[in-house]
């Protein structure tokens, strides 16, 4: 008899689980019947629908995503999403931060687009636009943009817009190319975040002063790095993360680069590129002033153990919490006469499978208005992607850091920044996967610069479509 009761209870448990499984479909159901909902597929937007209690004239739910680089940035974009949610008519927004891990962010997105669960609007780095566009993962919004009054692609930096309007059919770019893949979220560039306490303690010259005097070159940089490194075995002069941005700078600054001028072949083996790489290798191996390549330099920098930390504007919200005196300075000038900086950008693009392209396009525009960009910039995360003196002037007031000019110096024409860009003639992800490990081998002492130069382009050139 006892057994029978147990059997009953077991059955109850199972039934309960099965029934409870439908607890929220109850709240989901009305939304599913909303006219906007596509009938055929379980649309990606459904997860959001649970949050919006049923209203007669249901808002179109849109999900959007950008990659935050730290928890401070998540707060910035959550705020933006809330602001836009109340200002955009007929659209309910849900912001979801993606993962922060380097390339993983894009890979996860691709998996989700394939599965049909990706957000309606998402941000991708400039390097990946070609890959997403040629795979058909993102929507060509040129037809929508043509119908939009007052939309002007010229308002944004031309570097990003060149790639965002590139049409692989006919290899044409520009306003009349018939292609528009998205709008740039912002632009950014590298600067060196300085731990002034360490630099002062080491008695090293102030890089900001040197920059003003025009003496901030590779030698001056090395001098400061060595002096601060001498403070102790756990104190480093320089720190940079292990991805293409930081190492690319040294190649650019000596007149080299990743590809040739029209981006159709590898140029990693030119004498200039190798010169830049050699200097960087020496920083890691010979002078031993840098945090070990491949280990994240941000924790030690925030812990006050790195004097100069190379990173983009996106690191500012996080650095604002450090307990020491800090500022930023532009990158040192290389043999080429320029700091070799990047013009980083990423774009908001629209999921090719979205059920609401019109609304998504509205959202993309709203996310890139001067006003929104001003808010993001004020919170510290980035530099507006619209070319306007007002925006730049406003940017300067978003302190700390006091020396915001360092970022702007990085993107002026005079500094000749290289625009981050996708490979339309090949696969950037594959190029990156060949270049990255090889450079890492050089910087960690596993390979000589000569060996690198002798073999790298043989491998890297294979990713270009003939």
């Amino acid at each position: 008899m006892n057994r029978k009761i147990w059997k009953l209870i077991n059955l109850l448990v199972l039934a309960a689980l099965a029934l409870a499984a439908c607890g929220a479909p109850a709240t989901e159901a009305p939304a599913a019947e909303a006219p906007a909902q596509p009938a055929a597929t379980e649309a990606p937007a459904q997860a959001v629908a649970t949050e919006a209690p049923a209203q007669p004239a249901a808002d179109v739910p849109l999900r959007w995503r950008t990659r935050p680089d730290n928890k401070e940035e998540i707060a910035v974009y959550t705020q933006i999403s809330q602001d836009l949610d109340s200002s955009l008519e007929g659209i309910t927004l849900a912001y979801e931060p993606g993962g922060t891990e380097g390339a993983n962010y894009q890979d996860q997105l691709k998996t989700e687009v394939a599965a049909g669960t990706a957000p309606d609007v998402f941000w991708i780095p400039g390097t990946d636009v070609a890959d997403f566009a040629t795979r058909g993962l993102i929507l060509n919004i040129a037809p929508l943009a043509a119908k939009t009054e007052g939309f002007d692609a010229q308002a944004f930096y031309s570097g990003p817009m060149y790639h965002l309007t590139y049409n692989p059919e006919g290899a044409k770019s520009g306003a009349d190319s018939g292609a528009l893949w998205g709008l740039p979220r912002d632009v950014s560039t590298f600067a060196l975040y300085l731990n002034l306490d360490l630099i002062n303690e080491a008695g090293a010259p102030d890089p900001r002063e040197l920059a003003k005097e025009g003496k901030w070159d590779w030698n001056a940089f090395l001098d400061v790095a060595q002096k601060t490194r001498a403070l102790g075995s756990d104190i480093y002069g320089y720190g940079a993360s292990a991805w293409w941005g930081p190492y690319g700078v040294w190649l650019n600054a000596s007149g080299g680069g990743f590809y040739n001028a029209d981006r159709t072949a590898c140029a990693l083996n030119t004498a200039e590129s190798l010169q830049g790489l050699e200097f960087q290798r020496a920083l890691y191996q010979d002078y031993d002033v840098a945090t070990p390549y491949g280990e994240d330099p941000e924790p030690p920098f925030r812990a006050g153990k790195v004097a100069m930390f190379q990173n983009g504007r996106w690191a500012t919200p996080g650095v604002r919490t450090v307990p020491f005196n800090w500022d930023v300075v532009e990158l040192p000038t290389g043999p080429n006469g320029t700091p070799g900086n990047w013009l980083f950008w990423g774009a908001y693009v629209i999921n090719a499978k979205t059920a609401h392209p019109e609304e998504a396009w509205k959202l993309v525009q709203a996310l890139t208005t001067a006003e929104t960009q001003g808010k993001v910039a004020a919170l510290g995360a980035n530099i507006p992607s619209r070319v306007s003196q007002e925006a730049l002037d406003a940017f300067l007031t978003f302190t700390p850091p006091a020396n915001n000019q360092a970022f702007l110096s990085g993107i002026t024409e005079a500094a000749k920044p290289t625009a981050e860009g996708p490979l339309w003639a090949g696969s950037w992800p594959e190029y990156d996967k060949i270049m990255g490990p090889a450079i890492q081998a050089v910087l960690t002492g596993g390979k000589t610069v000569e060996d690198f130069g002798a073999t790298i382009c043989d491998e890297a050139n294979k990713v270009f479509t003939k």
Binding site: A16, C22, G23, E28, Q440
Partner: protein, 560 residues
């Protein structure tokens, strides 16, 4: 149940006859329905149907139709075969209907919603579990029946109250409403109606009078029971294991990329994976492009000797690097987690006090999540502030002071140096799997009869002799089991690398493993066809390794 039994309640034999006739009629009807269903996809009724879906539908329904027709004939002839086939078809139909109802009713997808409220309702579930424990505790008081009774009663009530609260907090009524709501469409209603029909047909065929009318025997009952018992497992296994496995095999011959329809490419994927070349080198440092066709091959590695050497090139360099890394990893991780475990188990097998405690402690690492473990080790391995380098520094200083030597602190960049990255992973693996293996060995040791040791003691064998002559040979089956499972696991290393390394391929691809490469091909580059081919190659490698171990084990046991 329904009106069928009531209709002719007075005469069981006639009633039975009637049901049998109904059943054969149903079989015929079903046969016709299924046949028309099988033809339907080719008449352009479902424009969205893809080719393979149409084929699948036609094959399934066509077979059902044919068998159903046979069954109808057999039932009319009163042969038991008709009953078997009928039961099979109706059962499968019933299961299909249930699945469709669950899917259409959103029960599977609704698990997400359950998770929503699970947080608050889990407490009540726990309460119910505690109630069960209290009730079960009653069994310990067999001698005192009143205590036992009270405990059981209390336990029962707690369970009941907990369950009710659990159901309430889990929004049971909302859930019910939601299901009904979702099923209120043609698809859902059809499924429910079919469910009832299949259910009735099953009941009609299963019942005793029908069985005896069709001359059922005990072995028939056993067969039906057997398939019935096996069915949940077998169906799930076919849908989620065997089916995908076949699909994987098919994909491996296509260029499937998850976005477009796959195209058949024959053995191209395999050819690319396995395309290698070995060339002599004129000089140890000769450039790869001079020795091999650089348009096709990349250098994987070279062996230098004298003033020449051998160059190893492959079309897919990363696969071969991954294979090398994985094999090296297994080559070190397996012995490092098996040999210490073997020694340890011999120590722990003694009857000294505290052994159970140590056994438990060694076992702990193997139950922790690898992702969590890897995060912990990531900070231990940190080159600047990590404990491992700190201990090395202390050790070096201690040694230098003690022996007045001038050893230099190596300051290893564990995860960012290509020489140590794989080693770092191996150490974690050894640490993590050793305890588990120790426990397996302990079990093996306890199965060795004590008389063997006693006899050896009489013969004057020392502990070392005993270990080599008795323990090792007697443990051979356990050793085989441990080594082969550890190897199979080691060949699939992924999590540690993915978490610990940034990027996961490690410095200069030194930690790219087969599974990592498979993940990358399939879900980053979306060459899913290629990834499937990689999966089959990985399987063949694992299979080969296990086979070798098996041969070894057989050979060794022959000698004993």
């Amino acid at each position: 149940m329904t009106e069928i039994p009531n209709q002719s309640n007075k005469n069981p034999a006639r009633q039975n006859e009637f049901i049998l006739r109904l059943l054969s009629l149903w079989r015929g009807l079903f046969s016709v329905l299924a046949a028309s269903g099988a033809i339907a996809p080719w008449l352009g009724i479902f424009p969205n149907l893809r080719l393979w879906q149409g084929l699948l539908l036609t094959t399934t329904l066509g077979l059902a139709s044919i068998f159903s027709a046979i069954a109808a004939a057999e039932i009319i002839k009163r042969r038991h075969k008709g009953r078997t086939i009928s039961l099979f078809i109706d059962y499968l139909g019933l299961v299909a209907c249930i699945l469709i109802i669950l899917q259409v009713g959103g029960v599977f997808i609704g698990i997400d919603a359950l998770a929503e409220v699970f947080g608050r309702s889990i407490l009540f579930l726990l309460a119910a579990f505690v109630g069960y424990l209290i009730s079960a505790a009653g069994d310990y008081f067999e001698s005192r029946s009143t205590t036992q009774k009270i405990l059981r009663q209390v336990g029962k009530w707690i369970v009941l109250i907990g369950m009710v609260l659990f159901l309430l907090t889990a929004n049971i009524f909302q859930g019910l409403l939601a299901i009904i709501n979702k099923l209120a469409n043609p698809m859902g209603i059809t499924a429910i109606v079919s469910l009832i029909i299949f259910g009735l047909a099953l009941w009609g065929m299963w019942r005793e009078p029908t069985a005896s009318a069709l001359k059922a025997k005990t072995n028939h009952e056993q067969m039906l029971n057997g398939w019935l018992f096996l069915s949940p497992n077998l169906l799930g296994f076919l849908i989620f294991f065997a089916g995908p496995l076949l699909l994987s095999f098919y994909f491996s011959f296509t260029d499937s990329d998850a976005f477009n329809t796959p195209k058949w490419v024959g053995v191209e994927n395999y050819a690319k994976i396995l395309n290698i070349t070995i060339k002599p080198l004129a000089a140890p440092d000769q450039l790869a492009r001079e020795a091999l066709d650089i348009q096709v091959y990349d250098e994987v590695g070279r062996i230098k000797f004298g003033n020449g050497g051998i160059l190893f090139g492959a079309e897919d360099k990363l696969f071969w690097l991954a294979l090398r890394n994985t094999l090296v990893y297994a080559l070190f991780a397996v012995p490092l987690s098996v040999i210490p475990a073997l020694l340890l188990s011999n120590i722990l097998n003694s009857k000294l006090p505290g052994m159970k405690f140590f056994r438990a402690v060694y076992f702990i690492p193997s139950i922790a999540a690898i992702v969590g473990i890897s995060l912990v080790w990531q900070w231990l391995y940190n080159a600047t502030i990590g404990y491992i380098n700190y201990f090395i520094t202390i050790g070096v200083e201690f040694w230098n002071n003690l022996f007045n030597t001038g050893l230099i602190d190596p300051k290893i960049n564990w995860v960012s140096d290509e020489k140590t990255a794989l080693l770092a992973i191996i150490i974690i693996a050894a640490w993590q799997t050793m305890g588990f293996n120790t426990v397996l060995f302990l079990a093996g040791l306890q199965n060795i009869p004590g008389e063997l040791y006693e006899a050896a003691t009489v013969d004057g064998a020392g502990p070392w002799d005993k270990f080599w002559r008795i323990t090792l040979p007697m443990l051979a089956p356990t050793t085989f089991y441990v080594v082969s499972t550890t190897t199979i696991q080691a060949m699939q290393v992924f999590e540690q690398v993915f978490i610990l390394m940034n990027p996961p391929e490690g410095p200069n691809n030194s930690t790219i493993t087969l599974v990592l490469y498979l993940y990358r091909s399939g879900f980053q580059n979306f060459k899913q066809g290629y990834a499937s081919a990689l999966a089959w190659v990985l399987f063949i490698v694992i299979f080969g390794l296990t086979l070798i171990q098996f041969q070894n084990q057989r050979k060794n046991s022959l000698y004993e």
